[in-house]
């Protein structure tokens, strides 16, 4: 609760809304106590007195009634009506929505058909029909507005409930012996409640407008009693001659509703967990670069050289050092594997190369990437764009999420070609078919017309590979391209990649967490832990004879087929969180060989053998492991 208020207070607009609406509510509450003129006493000789007149600060209306007094009483009534309508609609609507969403099946079907029927009316027609039947009047208008809004709540809450009812914790509660009714109250409701509060806070303003609207039409509050809407309605005939009688109540509605909307937005932002992490911001076309210190020179003459790369995520007041000082290089035609667990920074390293790290919150804070001799971190957008896909291409993990769901795969391939090459559509199309054939997609000519959802995961990933090949790139960066696939499909995809690499002389950076895949595909491997490379060298040597304790123990953790039933060796503890890294070796906490020196200060990545480097003060003794 405190956290919620803090979040709310951080939003200055919401705070302003809260203050304004708070003042209005307080004034409305104490209205009966204030020394105001009677709002309903007519005094025709004193009609249409302008504002700031003697005895009537806001003037008088067409019957000579004091506008200030009528405004205060009207505000009181309008607020009460809007709030009552919102509470009634939210309670009934949410109850219907939760029941439909939780039970599903036929219950859901029948309830939701009814709700759809109600939503098939433009809302005011329903309200008008209800008022027509019950007759104009305050209570009837309230009933009408509440009834009309019930379906909106029901549909909204049902959607949320369906999502929650299928969560595994609901199944777990059922297995723990809870009955449906208890699950609804104890498991589902607490998760739906924030959504109900959000829906209410964003609709109260709307309800006030609607009730005021009915009164404006003469269908709500009846004279002499007035809410803001009927004040405006009565003043309409004198709009041109005495505009102040219209402006006063109209401006009040505007102020109230605006304040409520500001507050409602604040409440929504504070309660929506996605916004807490700052996730709902738009990633920029290229990662922000904010380099401190000198730009390092390339360390090698390689095709792609990464030197001292640092990438951080800045989320609110936290700083996650996802990549802290990575040096890597890839030669023409070479396959480099980057291996690590989640959070080790392997993907961020790869995405930083072409500025594809989501930004905000990602920022490249140091280092350089030289491609073909030219530095590309912080290069102008157009330079980066012309390299992307043309010389450095990417293959991503989940092929369903990474292809555009609404375009045919052929069109997506053609677009990739035409982004860099101004060829006719017919040429691009025949090239696209050729690409599909090169990744061994059967019936490429007809498959080009398929949408991604019509293909299996393996076929989609082939399309992903074909797209990466579209412009004959020099380097392909593959970010866990087979992780989401089944083993038999993974084997097919790896064989396609391996053949293409040989045929075309491609350089590949292959990111994975699987030693088996690295062992089969890569020439060289870099092992990452907590944003740094801890070991690097030829794949066979590293896997057979790991020098960093992390590499060696990680290999032991992974069961291999053919080992039989056994106890696995595990690494105790957890990888460090990258917003709070130790000064010394990041692995020291989990290492059984850790020494005081390991924790004292940063450990450098040093050359241990020809072509091998290790970031460890006490590397594993060189001894052939039984393979």
């Amino acid at each position: 609760m405190m956290a919620f208020l803090k979040l709310l207070a951080r939003n200055r607009l919401a705070l302003a809304g809260l203050i304004v609406i708070g003042m209005v509510v307080v004034l409305a509450l104490i209205t009966p106590l204030l020394p105001l003129a009677d709002p309903d006493v007519t005094d025709t000789p004193n009609r249409f007195k302008p504002p700031f007149s003697e005895g009537a600060i806001l003037g008088t209306d067409h019957l000579g009634r004091d506008l200030l007094s009528r405004l205060m009483w009207g505000t009181r009534l309008s607020l009460a009506m809007g709030l009552a309508a919102a509470i009634i609609a939210a309670t009934i609507g949410s109850a219907i929505g939760i029941i439909a969403g939780y039970y599903g099946g036929r219950t859901d079907n029948i309830i939701m058909r009814g709700v759809d029927m109600l939503m098939a009316f433009p809302y005011i027609l329903l309200a008008l029909a209800i008022v027509a039947a019950l007759g104009p009047g305050l209570m009837n208008a309230l009933i009408a507005v509440a009834a009309v809004n019930v379906p909106f709540f029901a549909r909204n809450i049902r959607g949320i409930t369906v999502g929650i009812a299928h969560k595994e914790f609901v199944d777990a509660a059922r297995l723990a012996g809870m009955r449906d009714r208890e699950i609804i109250v104890a498991e589902v409701l607490p998760n739906v409640l924030p959504v109900i509060v959000i829906a209410m806070s964003t609709t109260v303003g709307w309800m006030i407008l609607e009730t005021a609207g009915l009164s404006f039409l003469g269908l709500g509050s009846q004279p002499p009693q007035a809410d803001l809407g009927s004040m405006l309605g009565e003043a309409r005939s004198a709009l041109i001659t005495n505009p102040h009688t219209s402006i006063v109540p109209g401006a009040m509605i505007l102020i109230i509703v605006m304040a409520i909307n500001l507050l409602g937005d604040g409440v929504r932002d504070a309660l929506d967990p996605r916004l807490k992490s700052g996730a709902l911001s738009r990633p920029m076309p290229a990662t922000t670069v904010d380099r401190q210190g000198a730009v390092p020179a390339a360390k090698t003459e390689s095709l792609l050289d990464i030197a001292g790369l640092r990438t951080e995520f800045r989320v609110r007041d936290r700083l996650y050092k996802a990549v802290s000082g990575v040096d890597l290089h890839v030669e023409k035609g070479e396959c480099l594997g980057i291996i690590g667990e989640s959070g080790s920074g392997k993907s961020v390293t790869a995405l930083s190369v072409m500025g594809l790290v989501a930004s905000p919150p990602g920022v490249i804070t140091g280092g350089a990437v030289h491609f073909d001799g030219k530095e590309i971190i912080g290069a102008p957008y157009e330079v980066l764009r012309s390299l992307r896909g043309r010389r450095v291409a990417y293959i991503f993990q989940d092929p369903l999420a990474t292809l555009h769901p609404l375009y045919k795969v052929g069109d997506q391939l053609i677009e990739a070609i035409q982004s860099h090459d101004s060829v006719s559509s017919a040429d691009a199309r025949s090239r696209a078919i050729g690409l599909l054939k090169s990744v061994r997609i059967p019936n490429a000519e007809s498959r080009i017309e398929s949408y991604p959802y019509e293909m299996s995961g393996g076929m989609r990933q082939r399309v992903g590979i074909a797209m990466a090949l579209a412009n004959n790139p020099d380097v392909i960066i593959a970010d866990e391209p087979t992780t989401a696939l089944d083993v038999t499909v993974q084997a097919q995809i790896l064989s396609v990649l391996s053949d293409l690499r040989r045929e075309r002389g491609l350089a590949i950076i292959f990111i994975t967490h699987d030693f088996g895949v690295v062992g089969q595909l890569c020439d060289r491997v870099a092992v990452m832990y907590a944003g740094q490379i801890v070991e690097e060298g030829p794949t066979a040597a590293v896997l057979r004879n790991p020098q960093h304790p992390y590499t060696s123990r990680l290999i032991d953790c992974v069961p291999t087929l053919g080992g039989g039933q056994r106890k696995l060796s595990a690494i105790p503890g957890l990888p460090p969180v990258v917003d709070n890294l130790p000064v010394g070796c990041a692995f020291a906490e989990r290492c059984d060989k850790a020494h005081a020196d390991c924790r004292a200060g940063p450990v450098e990545l040093v050359k241990t053998e020809e072509a091998r480097k290790t970031r460890c003060l006490f590397p594993e003794v060189v001894s052939e492991r039984s393979a």
């Binding site: 058909r113 009814g114 759809d116 029927m117 939503m119 098939a120 009316f121 433009p122 329903l126 008008l128 029909a129 209800i130 027509a132 019950l134 104009p136 303003g205 407008l209 609207g213 404006f216 039409l217 269908l219 405006l232 309409r236 709009l239 041109i240 219209s246 402006i247 109209g250 509605i253 505007l254 509703v257 605006m258 909307n261 738009r282 990633p283 076309p285 072409m354 594809l356 989501a358 012309s386 390299l387 992307r388 896909g389 990417y394 991503f396 989940d398 999420a401 990474t402 292809l403 555009h404 609404l406 375009y407 677009e415 990739a416 982004s419 860099h420 949408y451 959802y453 992903g464 579209a470």
Partner: protein, 315 residues
């Protein structure tokens, strides 16, 4: 595609029946003797007896419903006693005016709302975003009837740019320019709220889409950012924007009631409010069913547009 349209049309039949049932049930809530209520001050014993016979008001609810439904299917929506003419004639006479007003507003709010939302999302936290967000907030907070009144005061009375009210001048030609002149203010006033709502939802839909993996793929291909926003992202965002357009069309139709009152626009909305105040029940009933039916058909068009956009729907 034709198959899908036919399927949607067929599925509209139960919805239309449901609508008629709901309206019928609401009207059945009228307290007291229905014939007397319908006839109001015209309730002579002969009139009451004739109406009871025509509408089966002396029978149970179910037969009454089917008599009413049968009459409507034959184009007989009943007779307005206050206006002394058939309900359908009156509704059809006024429907054109409402269609022009609401249609113009709908086009206006769709185009402006989506454009504002996309620009706002593309320039998130920039000046354009903040400016649009503020205007949008103002737009959804102002009652359309108050906005209309203020526009009359400023643009018609003070600046004399537009006529104060009505659809046509009392004297003079009736051509497109004259109509546009009269239409400008009400159409704009009516569009403001819906524009705001659409802009907000378009913005959040765009932000949602821009974080998706396929946007990163498009960028990794080297697709130009303008194309990423206006083709890749907007197309995907339209999937969630189009249903909103359908709902907003209902809000535009609803708002038309207020705007027609403020601008003396001779549409169905004003007719309904007058009818309620005069207790002209059959006119209300007929008008509501007619407009609701039109809205259902409109929503089928929205669904078809959605299916054209999203190939995954056509099943």
């Amino acid at each position: 595609m034709t198959g899908y349209i036919l399927k949607r049309l067929v599925s509209a039949i139960p919805v239309l029946l449901g609508i008629s049932v709901i309206v019928f049930l609401i009207m059945a809530m009228i307290p007291g003797d229905p014939a007397t209520a319908i006839l109001g001050s015209y309730a002579t014993p002969e009139n009451v007896e004739k109406l009871n016979r025509d509408l089966g008001l002396d029978q149970g609810l179910v037969p009454r419903y089917f008599i009413w439904l049968g009459n409507m299917l034959q184009g007989d929506f009943g007779r307005s006693f206050a206006l002394n003419r058939p309900v359908l004639d009156e509704v059809l006479d006024r429907f054109g005016a409402t269609l022009i007003l609401a249609g113009t507003s709908f086009v206006l709010c769709s185009v402006l709302g989506i454009a504002a939302g996309v620009i706002s999302a593309a320039r998130q936290y920039g000046f354009a975003d903040k400016a649009i967000t503020f205007v949008v907030l103002l737009g959804i907070s102002i009652p359309s009837f108050f906005l209309g009144m203020m526009m009359i005061l400023i643009f018609a009375v003070q600046l004399r740019w537009f006529p104060v009210s009505g659809m046509w001048p009392i004297y003079g030609d009736r051509n497109l320019w004259v109509l546009m002149d009269h239409l400008a203010m009400p159409a704009f006033a009516l569009a403001v709220v819906a524009t705001g709502v659409i802009a907000r939802l378009a913005r959040s839909a765009m932000l949602e889409v821009l974080r998706q993996d396929f946007i990163r793929t498009a960028r990794a291909k080297g697709v130009h950012e303008r194309r990423v926003i206006w083709r890749h992202a907007l197309r995907a965002a339209m999937v969630s924007i189009i249903p909103i357009l359908g709902i907003q069309a209902g809000f535009v139709l609803s708002g038309a009631v207020y705007i027609e009152m403020v601008f003396q626009w001779p549409g169905v909305g004003r007719m309904l409010v007058d009818a309620i105040l005069k207790r002209d029940i059959l006119l209300v009933q007929g008008g509501v069913v007619f407009i609701a039916a039109c809205y259902v058909l409109f929503n089928i068009m929205v669904d078809v547009a959605q299916a054209l956009l999203d190939p995954r729907i056509k099943t």
